[in-house]
């Protein structure tokens, strides 16, 4: 049986933990709303630009070399853009993402290089001796499209210089506040869309195919990465809010139990003292 003093100390310690988790929960909750809105608002553009490129890619035979970023090659090297949060204390979010990417890497026959966004993913990959081609951290809670430029640049350059032949984008997709799903999808080369027969016609390009593609493809890569990062931020804040809420709940439950134990111990002590006193009084008589 713990002494009164020990229980008291324990209660105080848990109370201060609960204060911290509660504060973190509220901070995450306030950031979460914005982050979710931004993440969801980007989806239509993301879907449409993907669709447009898939259409164009399908309409042209793969050997017509429209743009280097549409080129399909034998896969010798693979790149994975691994996106995680910078910070922890957000449940299993980062762990799940790391597991998803590492399982994928182990399954590949070709060597995989990583481009990591977010400190947690980088630390994990470095610790397990994976090749990290480039790392980006500290994008913050509200990344702008300009922050993405360097990330996209690395991807585009490596693909154009044939250092990698397949690029995947891995990020924790936001589903609901309590669910985030780690996903891994192909970014380059662009997968052509499936057309019903007879509809597969060549496109007219204005001013010319090469020019349009030079403008559109880098933008596509940028938008895809940007959107993935927005989803990651939304997932991170949601996961953190839920994790911190659970932590606060658990802390409060512990406090209730401990308070009960404390009161019991105190009562016992008083009873014992009383017994001692009455015992002593009886003995004196």
């Amino acid at each position: 049986m713990a002494t009164l003093r020990q229980i008291k100390r324990r209660i105080r310690s848990i109370q201060s933990t609960a204060k911290i988790t509660k504060a973190m929960e509220m901070i995450a909750a306030s950031k979460m709303k914005r982050a979710q809105e931004r993440g969801l608002a980007g989806r239509p553009y993301d879907q449409r630009i993907r669709q447009v490129l898939a259409d164009v890619a399908a309409a042209h035979s793969p050997d017509a070399d429209l743009h280097p970023l549409l080129e399909r090659r034998e896969v010798r090297n693979i790149a994975v853009i691994h996106i995680t949060a910078d910070r922890g204390l957000c449940g299993g979010l980062n762990t799940n993402m790391n597991r998803k990417s590492s399982t994928f890497i182990l399954d590949q026959k070709a060597p995989v290089v990583l481009i990591t966004v977010g400190r947690k993913g980088r630390d994990f990959m470095v610790r397990y001796g994976q090749k990290v081609r480039a790392e980006f951290t500290g994008l913050g809670d509200r990344p702008g499209i300009l922050d993405i430029g360097p990330v996209a640049r690395v991807v585009i350059d490596d693909y154009t210089n044939k250092e990698v032949d397949l690029v995947y984008l891995a990020y924790p997709q936001f589903v609901t506040t309590v669910t985030q799903r780690p996903v891994l999808q192909q970014l380059l080369p662009v997968e052509p869309a499936e057309f019903p027969k007879g509809q597969n016609v060549e496109y007219l390009f204005e001013p010319d195919p090469h020019y349009v593609m030079t403008q559109l493809l880098p933008r596509f890569v940028e938008m895809e990465i940007y959107h993935a990062i927005l989803e990651t931020v939304a997932s991170e804040q949601s996961a953190r809010m839920v994790a911190m809420r659970n932590a606060s709940d658990n802390a409060n439950e512990l406090i209730t139990d401990l308070t009960l134990a404390y009161n019991k111990a105190r009562q016992e002590l008083i009873t014992k003292e009383l017994l001692d006193m009455t015992g002593a009084a009886a003995a004196l008589r």
């Binding site: 630009i49 259409d55 164009v56 016609v201 060549e202 496109y203 007219l204 390009f205 001013p207 938008m223």
Partner: protein, 143 residues
């Protein structure tokens, strides 16, 4: 009359998604009118006015560049920014125009000049679209 599905999206949101009769868009090689069953086309857009015709109604939008994909049954506009004529903040556009003009007048490095020119073009488009709408509306609201 067949219709074509028009979707206008910006990085921030889906702005418009409806079946329309005709779209007039500011392509880089000049304005182009697109009717349903148009041949597949892919083009870039200049800052300019995008007009939509739907059931005899006409909707004006200011867009500040982007991409346009046309398929026989749908038209997708990937706009950098798009606003309906009635949503344009004229005061803000005026201010942006003045700022851009000042920067163009002053001696700025080359990169800044390009930026200033682009924002001037955007401001002018917004003003033009807003102005057209005002003119057209006047008879409907006599003072």
């Amino acid at each position: 009359m067949p219709k074509t599905r028009l979707e206008i999206v910006t990085a921030e949101k889906l702005i418009y998604s409806e079946d329309v009769d005709m779209v007039v868009a500011p392509g880089v090689e000049g304005y182009l009118g697109i009717l349903p069953r148009h041949t597949p086309l892919m083009t870039m857009l200049n800052p300019g006015e995008l007009r939509i015709k739907k059931d005899g109604e006409e909707i004006d939008m200011a867009i500040t560049g982007g991409f346009l994909e046309v398929r026989p049954d749908k038209v997708v506009v990937l706009a950098d920014a798009a606003e309906r004529a009635e949503e344009i903040d004229i005061a803000r556009a005026e201010a942006a125009k003045r700022r851009a003009e000042e920067r163009l007048a002053g001696k700025a490095p080359e990169a800044d000049l390009a930026l200033a020119e682009a924002s001037l073009a955007r401001a002018l488009v917004r003003l033009k679209v807003a102005e057209r709408r005002r003119r057209r509306e006047r008879p409907l609201h006599p003072k």
